[in-house]
Amino acid sequence: MSQHHDDHPEHGHIKLEYQPALPIPNGKLCLWLFLSTEIMFFAGLIGAYIVLRFGAPTWPSPHDVHLSEPIGAFNTFVLICSSLSVVLSLEAAKADKAGRAKFWMFVTFVLGLAFLGVKGYEYKEKFAHGIYPAHPHGLLYDKPDVYYASSVKVALEDAAKHCTTQIELVDKSASEIAEAKAEIEEAEEAKDQEAKTKAEEKLAAAQKVNEEAVAMADTYRERREKMELLRDGLVQWNTRAATQNPNPVEGQALMDSIAYTIQHPHEDEEELTRLVEEKGTLATKLAELEQAEEQDPQEIALVKNRLKLIDYLTADDAAILRHGVNHTYDWVDLPFVIPSGNMWASTYFLLTGFHAIHVLVGLIVFAVALPVTLGVSKATFIEAAGLYWHFVDLVWIFLFPILYLF
């Protein structure tokens, strides 16, 4: 309601005028209504993350999931800068300085793009480390249990199979060379120049494949041997020992050992000392098994594999033990364990994904506004776009600490 003094003061009373609206433009009102629903939407998401995170028995640290705090802080700074630039664009538009308004709008657009670029880089890093929001791409397991051991075994067998395929290329390409040579001879006899050219091309291709296969054959044999050794000496040995152990804590420790050897570095000497002690025990056991009247060839083979694995893990100053199989070899990606890692990945990708979608929508709005003359007539539009953008910044203000620093 507003008060207006009557044009005729002799009447001596106040005339009231009814206003059927809030004292703001309709567009701005609608945007605020939309933002109030957005507040509830993101509160639900962030609240769900916090409740899940603090209700979980364990949660990965940023280091575990390859999150970089400085990158997160940089992205926060980028969004703060963009919030400033959009408000400066609004002030310039209000002063009818269209050129300056457009400049600040363009700066906002570029900063938004930079934010999304950094976010894209972060996503790429997660994917490169086998962290996805869900299977089938994800290599992430929550717990080193029999399901994990089984998936590691399958991955090792697949890697060994791939090595076998590469080794077989030597023979396959050799037979293709022989075939191509025979075709060349036939074509020469038949004086068929076209067939001869085709056969020569085939020969050249087969020779190239053969050269590469021969050069890599020893490497693939060595890799296959390592994969089979890890399968038999680590996964199968530990799984069998864990299932036979009546003490669940000891059993779990054996399963944990698989996960640690695959992914986590042993930064102390304890595991090395333990393996050296185990080697001594097993050597004695092997001697006993070989001297027994009724020999158990399967058990002997298992113990021999385990001994070989210990030698392999403790070789070169225990390099594999110190860095983990996945970190030592870039040619293999084995499933790994991050306790509560899948829950982390789901919440991280959901929160940052929805936020990134909002950033993208903001960028589309700015892209639409940029070609237009951003004078005083467009001030209300810029204010509405700015309000939305500030809200996006607000959400990130809360996402940064809870995702990167908690």
């Binding site: 206003q19 609206a21 809030l22 004292p23 703001i24 433009p25 701005k28 605020w32 209504l33 109030s36 629903t37 507040i39 509830m40 509160a43 639900g44 962030i46 609240g47 769900a48 409740v51 899940l52 603090f54 209700g55 979980a56 028995p57 364990t58 705090e69 802080a73 700074f77 703060i80 919030s83 400033l84 408000v87 400066l88 717990k143 080193p144 152990n245 003490n247 669940p248 804590v249 000891e250 779990q252 420790a253 054996l254 944990d256 996960a259 640690y260 042993h266 102390d268 304890e270 595991e271 333990r274 306790p339 204010e383 700015g386 500030h390 607000l394 203000i397 940064f400 600490p401 620093l405």
Partner: protein
């Protein structure tokens, strides 16, 4: 005059009073940068060693709320808006808090009701130096 025309007039009038110039926006920007730096301090080892984790988290949340208030009050101009702002923001904020609170009993306290069988499938921290030994005992867990 139409209602929208009135609204525009009132709106322009409100915006012409009380917040001219861009100096305050630069000051707010500077404050936001400093506050971001404050929350980033918690990343460093020195901070971890000196400050308990719960205090650190409370500090981060206080910093975030301060930053949010600065953005809302100055960049979103709420400090200069009329009383309609409460009509839109307060119910939404209350509902947001309510949404979070509703998740706590079933989701936040979910492990309080886990059976021992469920605990077998629950992620636990990996103990790098927990090796089979004669005196190892199963850890007592809720739900047992």
């Amino acid at each position: 005059m139409s209602s929208t025309g009135h609204a525009d007039e009132h709106h322009e009038a409100a915006h012409d009073h009380g917040h001219g110039g861009t100096g305050k926006y630069w000051l707010v920007f500077l404050a936001l940068c400093l506050l971001t730096l404050c929350s980033f301090l918690t990343y460093f080892e020195m901070w971890h060693n000196a400050i308990p984790v719960n205090v650190s988290r409370a500090f981060m949340m206080a910093v975030s709320v301060s930053k949010a208030l600065l953005v809302m009050c100055f960049f979103m101009h709420l400090i200069w808006e009329a009383n309609w702002k409460w009509v839109l923001t307060v119910p939404a904020a209350m509902m947001a808090v309510f949404l979070v609170c509703m998740l706590i009993p079933d989701i936040g306290y979910r492990t309080d009701y886990y059976s021992s069988h469920r605990w077998n499938h629950t992620p636990q921290p990996i103990e790098p130096n927990l090796h089979p030994s004669g005196d190892a005992r199963p850890a007592a867990q809720p739900g047992h």
